[in-house]
Amino acid sequence: MSEKFDVIVVGAGMAGNACAYVLAQGGLKVLQIERGETPGSKNVQGAILYADAIERIIPDFRDDAPLERHMIEQRLWIMDDNAYVGASYRSEDFNQEPYNRYTILRTHFDQWFNKKVREAGALVICETTVTELLLDGKRVIGVLTDRKGGEIYADAVVLCDGVNSRLATKAGFHPEIQPKDVALAVKEIHFLPQETIEARFNLGENEGVAIEMAGKITAGMMGTGFLYTNQESITLGVGCMLSDFKKQKVTPYQLLEKMKNHPSIKPLIADSEMKEYAAHLIPEGGYNAIPKVYGDGWMIAGDAGQFVNGLHREGSNLAMTTGMLAAQTLIALKAAGKPFNATHLSAYKTKLDNSFVMKDLKKYRRMPDIFHRNKQFFTTYPDLLSQAAQSMIRVDGIDKKSKEQGIKKSFLASRSWFGLLGDAFKFWRAVE
């Protein structure tokens, strides 16, 4: 392939598809390279799609995108071994079109998204792994692929190659990823008849629920669990920081099995057929883990740039938004006849800083460190909460005043006044 492109986009996930689509719509000559057999075949997500991000790129996406259920209810479970203390929010407002968020199956969704990319005029080649960036000094001038005569040239390369960000680390653009900055998540998809799902979760047709879980299911590690309803399946999984996984002896699949056998979860997936098991790393380092995302002839978008809001479980919307902003930067420069060098590509960083992406990540910049250093939020408190709830709910002839005193004592015994106040302050600092 001797022809030269305006832009090469590496990867066909949320960031890559958003970027390639916007570039092609903007009239640039785009090549998108994907290592999977088809777009989506290497991609893993929970998965919740936030309508807002895709709507800004493809306003009428609802017409033909493969969407599972729109979410009308969000549950939060703080769990110990036998129980959970929960909160939920369910509103008929979420049942009004246009819907705000949906469950999706990434393999199906990404194929649809990539079809849009091709229709917009980008050239897409699959089953091709980009092995290295081609450099002229510090400037990226193209990519090397594992195809015959695999050198392909472009004025800019946008790296949407996912959390492992191999191309940028190989090129020395940023250091290796640290275990403290990524979570390892494993999940399964369980099939059940549509009516069974709707009955078990109190849902009408096309309505969905998301359950986010914290506490004992992560075996003392910093992490969370989740369960999402799809049309005819349930996706459930658990993820913990890799730095925590590294220090203990429970395997990820043992953790998942334990979660599936929790007395509150087991009945929800009873008699289902498991059809796929997947694992994925999630960038959780936040603001401080974001590398340099542009340079001479290159930009980084999506998970490769560590753009994930861990607390709010947002990632795909940040991926799409960063991919879109990278594309818009290139389109504007091309129109102005300016070269894609670091000076001009810095406009991408300005766009990021002015968007919700960096504003949100900056707001929660202290969170990863605070939670890393204070595991009691994942161990002690879920236990205390559960015991307190049980004490107040169980009717056993003990007066409520004595029960309250007992609960107070249990909190003080575990954390002390100083500890409790300190934890309250830390929690506030993490999310302020």
């Binding site: 290592r35 999977g36 057999e37 989506g40 075949s41 290497k42 991609n43 893993v44 997500q45 998965a47 199956l105 990434r106 393999t107 199906h108 990404d110 699959c126 089953e127 091709t128 792994t129 092995t131 692929t145 594992d146 195809r147 959390v163 492992n164 191999r166 290796e176 990823i177 640290q178 275990p179 990524v182 390892l184 494993v186 399964e188 998809i189 399946s233 890799l242 996984f245 590294k246 203990q248 002896k249 429970v250 395997t251 990820p252 699949y253 043992q254 099995e257 498991m274 059809k275 796929e276 098991y277 997947a278 694992a279 994925h280 790393l281």
Partner: protein, 93 residues
């Protein structure tokens, strides 16, 4: 469904018979690694502890998450993506 093999049995792969995409650089280095956390952390159970301190890596069930590369303090892995079209092929993702 508690064994990893039973989970991986549900997954679709195009195994590259031309060679593995991950290789242990120096097996001796693993002998001196006390934790061998790759064997604990790999979500596909690709790393097996032999009992004599040796580690065996079989990449056929690899889910391509990248965990082993990041947890290896010794940086003792040659870790590349599989050739285009090979490896795990998610049906649902």
């Amino acid at each position: 469904m508690s064994k990893i093999e039973e989970k991986l049995f549900q997954d679709r792969y195009q195994v590259d018979t031309a060679g593995a995409h991950i290789a242990i650089k120096d097996a001796e280095l693993c002998l001196h690694c006390e934790q061998q956390q790759c064997a604990v952390c790999c979500p596909a159970g690709c790393y097996t502890q032999e009992g004599n301190g040796r580690l065996v890596l079989i990449t056929d069930g690899c889910l391509e998450c990248g965990t082993c590369r990041i947890v290896c303090d010794q940086r003792n892995l040659d870790w590349e993506w599989p050739r285009g079209g090979f490896g795990i092929l998610f049906k649902f993702g």
